[in-house]
Symmetry: C2
């Protein structure tokens, strides 16, 4: 079973020397690996450069991220987006026609979530006969060094309510997101394990797509996650090394 | 039945010479009158001064508005608000203790709906053991001379989602708001008629409180309102004069 596949979570668990060693260990063990991130404040190139800068063995073609998923949807359906996203993400949409918009794409725009920008996106949506709102994620909030910040999901809800529409989420926990990652790996859901710190977006999303999922007790993890009313991980681990051991052990059995 | 009571809607129907005459006519007919507004970009004093400036016979003690309703709730429950409201509304909260906040009050803050201000209100809420969010209304959007703008309801939804709370709405269409107006008039719901242009906040809210409600085909009214899935007005009128005629006619019968 050495060809059993392995899918790693977002950057939450990758912030130490041990994490770098574990990454090399995963690859050396012959496990296939994919980084699944909801990062929308940077292009994949910037994201990867940042992790490389920390010393991680990672390349752009190992990353599944929401913006390319959104671009696929836009192309398939002939949609021309009005972008309410972080400036640093805009290059991901370089090849997409944005004239005369017939949908809105919302990402974590951070400081760009101004009253004026929200109103502008709202006016595009409300002016459409069939309003389409594509969200790059549905996170509630996240922590930065200067405190908690509202994430894309909160602003998505504001637009959903104002326009009486339901957003289509293309990042985690969307099923299509995990399906893309599996297709890129060339494996079936039951051959893959998701490792992540986010009980809903990582664990819940992957399980709904048929993957097993391990929650790592780092980053976003909170002890209260273990009483989540809907989501039960297949296993808990204290760090990435434990997750790798667990997967390799199951492969040997 | 000349003492039958009459309750007028918001400022939507009050923008013409005819409206001024109708207002005098209502008062001369012996009908009790109350202005029910969700205006939260100004104090009642400013609101009334503006209408007086247009030539309307109106005084502050004839107005039911969300901010005083919020103040009643805050006092009754010992709540100290963090205010996310329009600067011009802040004087309505002059006598409320705002130190060490244990709830958030959200109104139509307009330009004050910045990313920083939203994050600040969010941090107050998420830091509370029992988060309380009081919304001065739940409007989706409104029209100004420079275009459509997101209303308080959209931002309320953002905070509800981020903090997993349900806001308590104190403006229209809240039952408590109409109950206040009735108490101030000293009448029972079945003795009152609401006249308004907003199918959900005016008509639906009043009907759920036991009042009859007439939708006036001006202001916010849209032909599609007449196919509203939940709300059916007791009558439609093309303008305020028709509403007054209808009420006086029913009183004579």
């Amino acid at each position: 079973m050495r060809n059993r596949k392995y899918e790693a979570g977002n950057s939450g668990g990758f912030q130490s020397e041990a994490a770098k060693r574990n990454l090399l260990w995963i690859k050396a063990s012959g496990l296939k690996l994919r980084f699944c991130t909801n990062e929308t404040q940077a292009t994949r190139e910037q994201f990867v450069r940042k992790l490389q800068g920390f010393g991680f063995d990672i390349s752009v073609d190992e990353v599944t991220a929401p913006a390319p998923a959104a671009c696929r949807v836009l192309r398939e359906r002939g949609l021309r987006p009005h972008l309410l996203v972080h400036d640093d993400l805009i290059p991901e949409f370089a090849e997409i026609d944005r004239t005369n918009p017939n949908c809105v794409v919302i990402g974590d725009a951070a400081d760009k979530f101004t009253y004026a920008n929200l109103n502008e996106a709202f006016r595009v949506l409300i002016g459409l006969e069939n309003p389409v709102l594509i969200a790059l994620g549905r996170g509630r909030y996240y922590k930065e060094t200067d405190g908690l910040k509202l994430d894309v999901g909160a602003y998505m809800k504001a637009l959903e309510y104002a326009c009486d529409v339901q957003a289509e989420v293309v990042g985690k926990p969307a099923k299509s997101f995990f399906e893309s990652a599996l297709a890129e790996l060339g494996v079936e859901p039951q051959q893959a394990v998701m490792v992540g710190d986010d009980i809903e977006n990582d664990v819940g999303g992957a399980q709904r797509c048929g993957l097993r999922a391990v929650q790592v007790r780092t980053g976003k993890y909170r002890p209260s996650d273990e009483n989540h009313p809907q989501v039960k991980p297949d296993a808990y681990v204290d760090n990435l090394a434990e997750a790798v051991e667990l997967i390799l052990q199951q492969l040997r059995e």
